[in-house]
Amino acid sequence: MELIAKNISFKYPSAKKYLLQDVNLELDNKKIIGLIGDSGSGKSTLCKILSGYVTKFQGEVIFDGNPLPKKGFKPVQLIYQHPEKVMNPKWRMKQVLEESWNVQDEDLAQFGIQKSWLTRFPQELSGGELQRFSVLRSLNPNTKFLIADEMTTMLDAITQAQILDTVLKIVKDRKMGFLLVSHDMDLVDTICDDKIYLKDINAAMK
């Protein structure tokens, strides 16, 4: 299974310069790749393109031999830095989770989610607790590739280790692909098999 970006170029409509230019990237489920780059270099935009959130760009994204589906469940899931921004504040956590899939008790336990948290609203949980939900929600059985964009930046080291440890186990079990975007070099060196510097593959930055 491969996620391939071919000659991706992107610029904001009002901008003169391209943010991404002729970016080529090949990812698979055999290696865990770390993506590194300065802030403003377009890492997050590239992640949004790879996961199908941004659709107006030049070039193509090929997943498993086909373009990303326009409708329905997205096999490439993206997790952001701020979980509180991707949850409906008026839903209880159970509803937030079940919007994606029918989560079993053992999945909750695996992520250290307490059952009592399910009846709470997002603002009644801490960032670390919310991020556990956000990650579990994205691990729908139809998810084939996971992109973590600064997923644990706001969390303390222990919660970071817990969440990543569980995610990596699941990724391995289900033979999923995993792309980690982070500015923490220690973290990238610890869990990734390989790393890519965005400026090395982005012509707009040269």
């Binding site: 250290g112 960032g127 303390d156 220690d186 869990i191």
Partner: protein
């Protein structure tokens, strides 16, 4: 070195309505104790959403109306009342906020920095001083006429820092100054704090970023579930973490990717979930029976260090 700020057994709770007219008292900070001397940087390290920013709000007297504050906040040995805080804020103690969102979006930068002036002369004098400090921080005259949204991340940070220093403060409180910045700007921001320290200013750095804390702080206060559970020296965060005292701090250090990435089970109990004993009881590997029902106090262990754990009690 003279003591600047003493925070003694501060607790903060919020009165919330649950259903109808039923109220409950939600304790967010249960026991926060720390002190800062001149020319010292003390970091308060806690995870996001743990309520550590409320400490800054308590010092400046800007807690919301439904908050209840107990304990003592002393500045240069004198306990501060709400009136004292209103008098002293922006002069003796200043805040470096998290982002430019805290600035008035419709005011020009130099007007924000100068603030309210009674007379024209005062304004002129302040304007000259503002220009000097801005220049020192590499902010050209064109910045004076900009609006907050026109500043880049690094520039915004320099504006916030130089605005704070305009008042010649004794103590600077910085609330989460590093997130959302690239490595270069983070480094630059941290260097600003180092310079403040060199000039004898005390800095209270409230952050969730352990790397930032280790880079600049002299001592680090670890905040867990509403308590300060340990105040450690920066040097203790080295080797195998053997000089760290509290079991939570030890696990935190070992969970860093560079130090083994070790996983500890459990989660930090949130406001209202904390058992009557030690807040770390459920996750602790060296717990005693008494830890479940008795809550340890923050005790001085010498060398400016403190820990809240029965293991380090005398005779234990």
């Amino acid at each position: 070195m003279d003591k600047l700020l003493d925070v003694e057994n501060v607790s903060i709770s919020f009165i919330q309505y649950t259903r109808g007219l039923n109220q409950r008292d939600l304790k967010v900070i249960t026991d926060l104790t720390l002190d800062i001397s001149e020319g010292e940087i003390l970091a308060v390290l806690g995870s996001s959403g743990s309520g550590k920013s409320l400490l800054a709000h308590a010092i400046f007297g800007i807690l919301p109306e439904n908050a209840r504050l107990n304990g003592k906040i002393k500045f240069k040995g004198k306990e501060l009342s709400q009136e004292d805080k209103e008098e002293i804020r922006g002069k003796g103690i200043v805040l470096v906020p998290q982002s430019v969102n805290f600035l008035d979006p419709l005011m020009k930068i130099s007007d924000i920095a100068i603030g309210h002036c009674e007379t024209e002369e005062e304004k002129k004098a302040k304007k000259i001083k503002q220009r000097e400090i801005f220049e020192h921080y590499n902010l050209g005259p064109e910045v004076d006429d900009m609006y907050p949204f026109q500043l880049s991340g690094g520039m915004a940070r320099r504006v916030l820092v130089s605005t704070a220093l305009l008042a010649d403060p004794d103590l600077v409180v910085a609330d989460e100054p590093t997130p959302g910045l690239d490595e270069k700007t983070v480094q630059e921001t941290l260097n600003h704090f180092k310079h403040m320290k060199e000039e004898g200013i005390g800095v209270l750095l409230i952050t969730h970023d352990i790397h930032a804390a280790l880079e600049v702080a002299d001592r680090i206060g670890i905040f867990y579930s509403g308590y300060v559970i340990e105040i450690a020296l920066k040097e203790d965060f080295s080797g195998d973490g053997e000089n760290l005292l509290h079991p939570y701090t030890k696990s935190l250090f070992k969970a860093l990717p560079a130090n083994g990435f070790e996983v500890v089970e459990g989660y930090q109990p949130l406001h209202g979930e904390i058992i009557e004993g030690c807040p770390f009881y459920d996750r602790c590997e060296m717990r005693f029976d008494r830890c479940k029902v008795e809550r340890p106090e923050l005790t001085d262990v010498g060398n400016n260090k403190k820990v809240r754990c029965f293991k380090y009690e005398e005779g234990a």
